[in-house]
């Protein structure tokens, strides 16, 4: 029986070239915006979490650059870009 794989373990299989600075940021002041809530459940890499203060926090390591958060939350709350050339995830299979 294949053991269920932890998300961090799955992301650990992928090749990531370090980004100089996060390419996706929650816009200052928008950390408690309800429009960010869907990202908690939809991000395929599980990068969005909520802290004790009720603020949404984004950890950029492991970003698969899929675009889901940009579509679900919108550009008013997210400053969304692709990472610089030659950085971020590099799929070896695709």
């Amino acid at each position: 029986m294949t053991e269920p794989m932890d998300l961090k373990a799955k992301l650990g299989l992928d090749v990531f070239k370090p980004v100089r600075e996060p390419h996706i940021k929650i816009r200052p002041g928008r950390e408690k915006d309800p429009r960010l809530k869907p990202a908690l459940r939809l991000c395929p890499a599980g990068l969005y979490s909520e802290n004790e203060k009720g603020e949404i926090v984004l950890t950029i390591d492991g970003c698969l650059e899929c675009g889901t958060c940009r579509l679900a939350c919108g550009t008013e709350v997210l400053d969304w870009n692709y990472p610089e050339g030659g950085t971020g995830v590099q799929f070896r299979f695709g």
Binding site: D14, R41, L64, Y82, G86, G94
Partner: protein, 428 residues
Amino acid sequence: MDKFDVIIVGAGLAGLGAAYTLADHDLEVLVLERGDYPGAKNVTGGRLYINPIRDLFPGLWENAPLERFITHEGVTLMAKERSVTLDYSGNELRQEPLQSYSVLRSKFDRWLAEQVENKGIMVLSKTRVDDVIKENGNVAGVLAGGDELRADVVIACDGVISLLAEKSGLRPPGAPHDYAVGIKEVIALDSGVINERFNLEGTEGTARLFVGEVTKGKFGGGFLYTNRESLSLGIVIGIGDAMDYTLPVEVPLLLEAFKSRPEIAPLIKGGSTVEYSAHVIPEGGFKALGNLCGNGILVAGDAAGLALNIGFTVRGMEYAMASGYFAARAVLKAKETGNFHAETLRVYKRFLEESFVLQDFINFQKSPAVLSNPRFFTHYPELVGNLMKDVYTVPEGPKSRLFPIFRKHMTPGELWAIVKDLKHFSKI
């Protein structure tokens, strides 16, 4: 040289399709790719259908690194505690010309880029395009890594989240209901084991779609494709749908639940996951297509919204390669007059309309609405599953007759609801 004839943004299938077509025409063409190599940022389910694009790229296919040719098409209605599967296989799927192949993008895109480079076109990787350069209402080039690169025309093939299409004013940011997200694992598995488990000979392959409990009743489904030495296994879920109602579980856990299903677990047993990936897919169809051209700019592939869910399959890669081809042909036409305004470049749209690309989009323009019927993802898997459960059950006492079993599930109300659904289905 201070100006290129054409700058292509994105070395995916649309970008490389355009570059391949422009080669041998004595133009200065530059392809820019933000990944370490072409394919580094691309993901497919997936499988490529060759027939519509075979003749657009003659000679390309003999040596293309395709995985398995698909001879089995499966669809599974997945209820909570049971499932019903249909498997189609036909001799025509084993005869040349072979219809479709499973594919892995990193390998395929990289190879295609080599073919483009062999024809003398420069493909520059690790280069992110940050913006278009606009002059007097025309796109005159791109800004990349602080450098201005000028061209008569830009072909934006920068993928489903096309920042260039937005920055050049051709479309607004997408709406969640027009997109789905696919998440996928590539699971390495010995090719002999794959052949045994899936009843395949040689390099035959299978493509399977799963609908219902996979996405907890939300729009989307599961998929499984056999590659030479791996399986592509994943799920797709509509972003708008996942937002509308509270999804009971996080999206990554849906994939784990899918893998644990008794229908799936034995198929992947002994395999090892080698990659985890995710990518957004356009699902809006014809009505969600953005503008295809502007002054000095064309948009192709996913960047133009050119992916189509027609129920039994989801297609995007053929449209990417074909639209790249037609964008290149439009550029060659415009080059004859030296005019790269929207009015001249609009021939691109005409090419697409006359080809399978927009004809498919127009013919299937109702498919987003028809296929988003929640009954496909909740009601029908349970209905068919329960019907089959009762058909196959042999109890301690007498076995009930078959027609009453059928009548029990297919009540007049149910049959009427099915007829209504079929009437909607007639639109695709």
